[in-house]
Amino acid sequence: MKKLTGALFIILLYTACKFNAADTPKLPIYGNRDTASKVVNGKTVIDSVYQTIPSFKFVNQYGDSITNKSLNGYVYVADFFFTTCPSICPIMHRNMLKVYDDYKNVSDFKIISHTIDPKHDSVAVLKKYADKLGISGNSWWLLQGKKEETYQLGEKSYLVAVKEDSGTPGGYVHQGWFVLIDKQKRIRGYYDGTDEKQVDKLRADIKTLLAETNTNIAQ
C-alpha cells in the first residue's frame, strides 16, 4: 500500500510538472486584465482577457503610413524618445542598437520608437536620425504622429509615462522603458533601456518569446 501511494505521488508530481511546462508561458503577461465568460461545448467558461495594444496610425521615417495592423504577426519592442533629447535617449538607443543588431534579420521581429516631439521630429528629421544612427530597412521604425495620440498610447496602452515639462532638460518627462509586445499584442516585459543588464535580459527574452509564439502557431 505504501509503495502504491509513493508511485501515485510520483505520477502526480510528474503530470503536475508536465502541465506547468506546457501551459505556463515563460514570460509574464502584464497590463490590466478582465474576465469574459464564453460558452464552450454547452458549458460556460470564465476566461481571462488580457490588455492589448489598441489601433493606432502613425508615419514612419520613410513617410509610410503605419498602423497597429502593420505589426500583426510580429513580436516587437516599443520605446518613446525624441531626436533632440539630451538626457537618456542616447543611452537608450545605444542599447537598442544591440537589440537591432541581434534581430534585424529575424522576419517576425520589429522595433518601434515613437517620437514624443512630433513638432520638431518630422519625417525628414527622423530619416536623418535613422541614417546617422546607422539603421536601415524595415526592422526598426521611427514613428511620428499626433502628439495626443502618442501620449495616450504611451500612458494608457504601454503604461509608461510621457508628458511635456519645460522644467526638465529637453522639455519632456519620459521614462526609458523598452516594452516587449507579443504577437497577440499583449505586454510581456518592461526593461529599463538605460540599464545594460536589463537590455541583455530583453535580448534573451525576445528569443524566448519568438520561440513561444512559434510553437503556439505550430499547434
Binding site: P86, P90, I91, R94, D131, K132, L133, G134, P169
Partner: protein, 139 residues
C-alpha cells in the same frame, strides 16, 4: 629573521616612494578624479562611459588628433555648447547641437583633464588658469 628585515625595508621603501609622489601628480589625480564625477553626471549619457559616442549622431572622445589640435578651444565648447556646427572627427562629420553647461572654470578644467587623459588619450593636466585664458578667446 632575515626575511622580516627585508619585508620591513620593502614596506618602508614603498611608503617613502608613495609619499614622494610629487605635488604635480597629486594635483593631476585630484583633477582627474573630480573630472570623472563631472563626466558621469554631465557628459556620459551622450558620449558614453567609454567615450565612444553614438554612431554618426554623437562624436566620440577617443580620437586623439581632434582633441590635440583643438585643445585650446575645448573649454569654449564645454561652456557654450555647439550649435548645429559640423565637426569632423577622424574623417566622419557630426552635425547637431551640444548643450551649454554652467560649469565653473575649475570644473571645466577637471572634466577636460579627465577626458584628455581617458579613452586612450594622455595629454596631461588641464589647469584652471589655462581654462581662464582659453575662455577669453571664445568666439
Amino acid at each position: 629573521m632575515k626575511l622580516r628585515v627585508i619585508g620591513a625595508v620593502a614596506i618602508l621603501l614603498s611608503v617613502i616612494i608613495a609619499s614622494c609622489q610629487s605635488e604635480e601628480q597629486q594635483e593631476f589625480q585630484r583633477y582627474y578624479n573630480g573630472g570623472k564625477i563631472i563626466y558621469e553626471q554631465r557628459c556620459q549619457n551622450c558620449h558614453s562611459a567609454k567615450g565612444e559616442g553614438l554612431s554618426n549622431l554623437i562624436p566620440p572622445l577617443t580620437d586623439a588628433t581632434y582633441l590635440k589640435t583643438n585643445k585650446a578651444a575645448l573649454a569654449c565648447l564645454v561652456k557654450y555648447g555647439i550649435k548645429e556646427t559640423i565637426i569632423t572627427i577622424n574623417g566622419k562629420s557630426y552635425e547637431g547641437a551640444m548643450p551649454a553647461t554652467d560649469l565653473a572654470p575649475v570644473d571645466i578644467a577637471k572634466v577636460l583633464t579627465y577626458v584628455t587623459n581617458s579613452f586612450g588619450n594622455k595629454m596631461g593636466i588641464v589647469t584652471s588658469e589655462q581654462i581662464d585664458k582659453d575662455l577669453l578667446k571664445c568666439k
